[in-house]
Amino acid sequence: MAILQVNPTRMELTGLKKRLKTAQRGHKLLKDKQDELMKKFIELVTKNKELRETVEAELTQSFKDFLIARAVMSSESLEEAIMYPIDKIALEVGTKNIMSVNSPVIHLVKEEKEDNDTSNYPYGFASTSSELDSAINSLKQVLDKMVQLAEVEKTCQLMADEIEKTRRRVNALEYVMIPQLLETVRYITMKLDENERGNRVRLMKVKEMLGK
């Protein structure tokens, strides 16, 4: 391990020792952060995987339903039927801080229609098929999960990034910075000791010469 380019003086030694202490403290803190991030991440990513599996399965099913609906009706009348949606859907997005990772919190807000008398569907029943009803119903049910998936997956992506960054920092401190500092401190101590010994020998020699 290469040592830092410094003058072997007592002042440098004090400075280096201070830096070493800071580095070690930083390393410990970052390591703790990494551990906690990892724990949260594993929790979340397991959820992410499960959610994605269910969403993919349910969505595929919904698409199949929809395909059947399309097959039964002419595409013009189908498009006409769903042209004007009855529900308005919006998202409320907040942020949550998980171990310094800003992650989104997404809520689905449905603006329900005012009067409950009208049907759940944005079209009349005369020109549409019942397959379309069920297709839209199943899509509606998947949507909640899809929004949840979006929130979890985005958080996972952001956390993965943060974990990678933190790991780099921890490793840089652990394997480069701290060994380097230790080595340099050792080098300076040795050099200073050596100087000390040299000085003492010289003094002894001088005393011997004076004594003669």
């Binding site: 929809f66 042209m83 949606p85 859907i89 989104p104 839209i136 899509l139 899809m146 997956e153 990678e164």
Partner: protein, 110 residues
């Protein structure tokens, strides 16, 4: 609080149903057009953009741009021909990136 929107990009046959739910639908099959739509949506107040895997696989570079920003969340969904496994792969990749080894999917033997 400002209300954000949901957008869906994909081939028309797959995503038209979302329109009935009140979600903005952008049917396209053209790669160039899809990337343009994506960029436009990201600039506007869209918090979640769902893209079918069939389209996403061709505009991966554009999607990756938004991977590290808080919004929008770009989520891949299967289309009506079933899943290509790209979305799942992305989850696996983020596990590998964070942990260094694939611990979630490995035991299932893929």
């Amino acid at each position: 609080m400002y209300m954000y929107k949901i957008g869906v990009i994909g081939d028309k046959d797959s995503i038209l149903g979302f329109k009935a739910l009140g979600i903005s639908v952008f049917p396209t099959t053209d790669t160039k057009q899809a990337s343009k739509i994506l960029i436009d949506l990201a600039k506007e107040k869209y918090a979640i953009i769902f893209i079918t895997e069939q389209i996403a696989k061709d505009i991966k570079d554009y999607i990756d741009v938004y991977k590290q920003s808080l919004m929008p969340a770009i989520i891949l969904i299967p289309n009506n021909q079933g899943t290509l496994g790209i979305g799942m792969n992305a989850v696996r990749q983020s596990v590998e990136k964070a942990i260094g080894a694939d611990i979630l999917f490995g035991k299932e033997g893929r």
